[in-house]
Amino acid sequence: MTYTPLDLYRKDLAALMVKTRLLLHDPSGERWTDTRVTEAINLAALEFAIITECIKDEVEVQLLANQWSYDIKQAVEASATLNPYGWPVRIGYYGKESGALKPTTSHVVDLSGATVMPAGSSNQFQVNMLSYGEVGVIPIPSTDGEALPGDEGNIQVTYIGMPESMDAVEDFPDEEMQEVYHQYIPYEAASLLLEEGDEEDLIVAADYDANFKSGCYEAIGDQYQGQTGYADMRPM
């Protein structure tokens, strides 16, 4: 029995450019240069990743005695292999298989009269008093965590990542952007370029944007756990 691997639906930058130009009715590049189309495709892929949260990565951050806030974005940037940082979705403690820190806010801590004084281990985190990219752990650790890459006494931040840029024509969208959704990226790319035009361009841009969003929501739907037919079975 033959089967068609999804890889065959994978589109590299060259294929994405061809489709974008078709949608733009600009096959020979009279109106938009390759540079601008490439940039629009990359921004469309970025938008797809933001909306669908399809890229996830994890960074290990060493906790330090008496230090409560940690710059997760900087920790990601210091690594050469991780996807660019988006926002946190889970903060594990003492390794992946151990428990997670629970989200809280400094208002909850203040109003409950709880203390953030240094203690043996942290069990909560907050982001509400910190800038983008930082998290604060509560209680404040009283000792340093194990030196990296060890995970004892450290936090493991799972975050929504952003895609890498496609620069060469043979580059593909990030692996975590599933092949079945590659077809929607050119719609957003074309929409981004057409919104620079006149009224008629704007109408087409809105139409393409709707196509793209529909693909994004389809991808979000498919990400739900238990996505087999059985997941929909309910007692009558």
């Binding site: 230090q67 660019p84 240094p118 008093m129 404040i140």
Partner: protein, 276 residues
């Protein structure tokens, strides 16, 4: 090193010219608008983005003085979020209304360590504390959140601390050592002083358009700043296409602010907030 999707200011300005149909070439003025006009609007829109999303937050210590109960907030403070005493492991100051105290005939002459704050009847950039501080705040370095310690050399030649270490990492270490050390930057201990967490203003971009927006503005929204700027520039235009664009870009800009707000507050599925 900024991510690939970070936009330098000249790119944001060029992107805006393109959206408004006034692009005549990279890094040159449009026919209708100059780069300086677009830069000025872009700075305003970034301020709006931060004010409404609360993306840039910071904390500073305000040194308290004996007998002084009203203090200026930091000059870059857009909105205070929390007032506390004695640093991150100290206590929070709760809000009091002067009018409520007046109604019940309370005086405000008590002295001691502040436990409450008020902003009523003060200038927008001021905060008052109650009770009135009975002592100056500490400048003792024991538990400072700020400052950078370059190096400490003990008398026996050993170096317990080396290189640039933020003081907050060595809180609790008694400074009874002798030897040479150098503290760089002004250091104010949180102990006995007021700490304010607040939303701060983003940096302003001037004529150097090769700069990036404030480093704490997530790069993933740089691409959308152009919508806010174009929305503003196209206001009042009588051209049909401009009016149409203004509607579209206005909606996109509102979406950008909402998205950034959700991203900065996002704490994972346990917090049940999903950025879109």
């Amino acid at each position: 090193m900024p991510e690939w999707f970070a936009r330098q200011f000249y790119q944001i300005v060029d992107d805006t010219f393109r959206l408004c149909g006034d692009f005549r070439g990279a890094q040159i003025n449009g026919r209708t608008w100059t780069r300086s006009e677009v830069r000025s609007i872009a700075n305003e829109k970034m301020l709006e983005l931060i004010k409404l999303s609360g993306a840039l937050k910071t904390v500073r210590s305000i040194p308290l003085l004996e007998g002084v109960n009203v203090y200026d907030l930091p000059p870059d403070c857009i909105m205070p979020l929390r007032f506390g005493m004695h640093g991150v492991d100290g206590y929070v100051l709760t809000h009091k209304s002067i009018t409520d105290l007046d109604l019940v005939g309370c005086s405000r002459t008590t002295e001691g360590d502040p436990t409450t704050f008020y902003r009523e009847f003060l200038a927008p950039n001021q905060v008052g504390v109650m009770p009135i501080p009975s002592r100056d705040g500490s400048t003792f370095l024991r538990s400072s959140d700020y400052g950078l310690l370059r190096q400490i050399s003990d008398a026996d030649g050993s170096i317990p601390f080396d290189a640039n270490r933020p003081l907050r990492q060595i809180r609790g270490v008694p400074f009874v050592r002798t030897g040479d050390g150098q503290i760089i930057r002004e250091v104010i201990s949180p102990f006995g002083n007021l700490q304010v967490h607040y939303i701060r203003a983003p940096k302003i971009i001037g004529t150097d358009e090769f700069q990036y927006p404030d480093e704490a503005i997530p790069e993933l929204v740089h691409k959308d700043i152009k919508y806010g700027v174009a929305f503003e520039l196209l206001k009042g235009s009588k051209k049909k296409v401009h009016r149409l664009k203004q509607q579209v870009f206005g909606m996109k800009w509102a979406g950008t602010i909402r998205r950034l707000q959700r991203i900065v507050e996002h704490a994972g599925p346990m917090n049940d907030v999903r950025p879109l």
